[in-house]
Symmetry: C2
Subunit: 237 residues, 2 copies
């Protein structure tokens, strides 16, 4: 944190003095002490965004799901496991930041109950009852909706079909400034890869296709966000 | 593979000329293209066993679940995702090896169906129907039960309560030569850590407690396996 602050203070980047909050990685929703529902996110795209934002001078906080050992240089990292943890850590910080970028692949459901001990095979109910987890980005958007200094809100849509359609719907429903859409079935895009191919859509109608390493794609996303028009007084932004 | 073979040929270790088959890591059981049931295994214990066996001269094959980037030096690695994949790769190899050590944390259940596209939140059935996956070690044990040259079979029991009781039951039910029991709720033991604390039980009644780095624990396990009495003619071993 000290390093990031120092970098932000001495830096002359376009994000110097700005606070960027990011989520990255998957979440895990445990059904007993050793089993969970999750997804293949490795946090690479979110951490590339964190690195790119830090290099532009921002003070970056990453709320990070379980991804194993990663480079945390210059970042404030808040480690979380479940969607509920992630929502709590984001909601306590989102009002104080300039940008919130929700790149984590948050589990949409969790098991209704979590058994205190490992469930033995013989005991299996053979049916897992699921309940919805908090929608971190939608809740963050609601929380800052009436704020005098609403942060820029950016979402991600990892889809397997009708990608742009789903992304546009999410952009509007969650009242975002921009959304990064990617088709995770395309080779060289999506989970675990070092490269990505995405389409960024803004609320103002900009559409930008980006391809390259995740760091290059991250830089392209931040450039687009920096080019968006400033908040219109009275619009909620 | 070439390196491992060369090492085994020039080596003078107690496992020189022996083939060791290992499973390591978790499995993932997908319910749609982006969501799965899994567990926190990182494959570290299994890969430590692989390294230790290789250093003793063995030709080592690791059937490895999804664990991200790991050191594969000198190992033949077969990458798999699901329990079904793992079972298939093990069953096609187990008859040809001297030792089979099943250290992977195999998912006991998988979703009954796998949706071809990402399930949208609104479409959720809210109930996930689970079916049992193949028991890789039990199936391997059955497959070699009548073989003239039955491999040494070693299991793992990651438990959260009544650890030794569960381990002994597994040892007998799956007809193993030894089992490595660990209480994954103990700090410094189990999933993702670099250290471990285990108890090894053999079919011959040996009990050995081991503690240290995963490589040290791996070496202790292999020492114990090397000390077991040779197969008794007519006993199936």
């Amino acid at each position: 944190e000290i390093v990031a602050e120092a970098a932000a203070r001495i830096g002359q980047g376009p994000l110097t003095g700005k606070k960027v909050l990011l989520t990255a990685g998957p979440t895990r929703e445990f059904l007993d002490p050793v089993r969970f529902i999750s997804n293949p996110s490795t946090g690479k795209m979110g951490l590339a965004l964190a690195e790119a934002a830090r290099k532009l001078g921002a003070k970056v906080t990453v709320v990070l799901g379980p991804v194993g050992a990663v480079d945390r240089t210059g970042l404030e990292v808040v480690d979380v496991v479940s969607a509920e943890d992630m929502a709590r850590e984001v909601l306590s910080r989102v009002e104080a930041v300039d940008w919130f970028i929700a790149s984590a692949a948050v589990s949409d459901w969790r098991p209704e109950t979590r058994a205190p001990q490992k469930v033995k095979k013989g005991e299996s109910p053979e049916v897992l009852k699921l309940v919805r987890t908090p929608d971190v980005l939608a809740e963050a958007s609601k929380k800052v909706a009436g704020a005098p200094r609403r942060p820029l809100l950016v979402g991600f849509a990892a889809e397997t079909e009708r990608v742009l359609e789903h992304a546009r719907e999410k952009l509007e429903r969650k009242n975002l400034d921009a959304i990064v859409a990617n088709d995770v079935t395309v080779p060289g895009a999506g989970f675990g890869t070092d490269t990505n191919r995405v389409t960024v859509l803004s609320r103002t109608g900009v559409r930008k296709d980006l391809e390259g390493t995740k760091l290059q794609v991250a830089q392209g996303i931040l450039e687009l966000l920096l080019s968006l028009p400033p908040a219109v007084p009275g619009s909620g932004r």
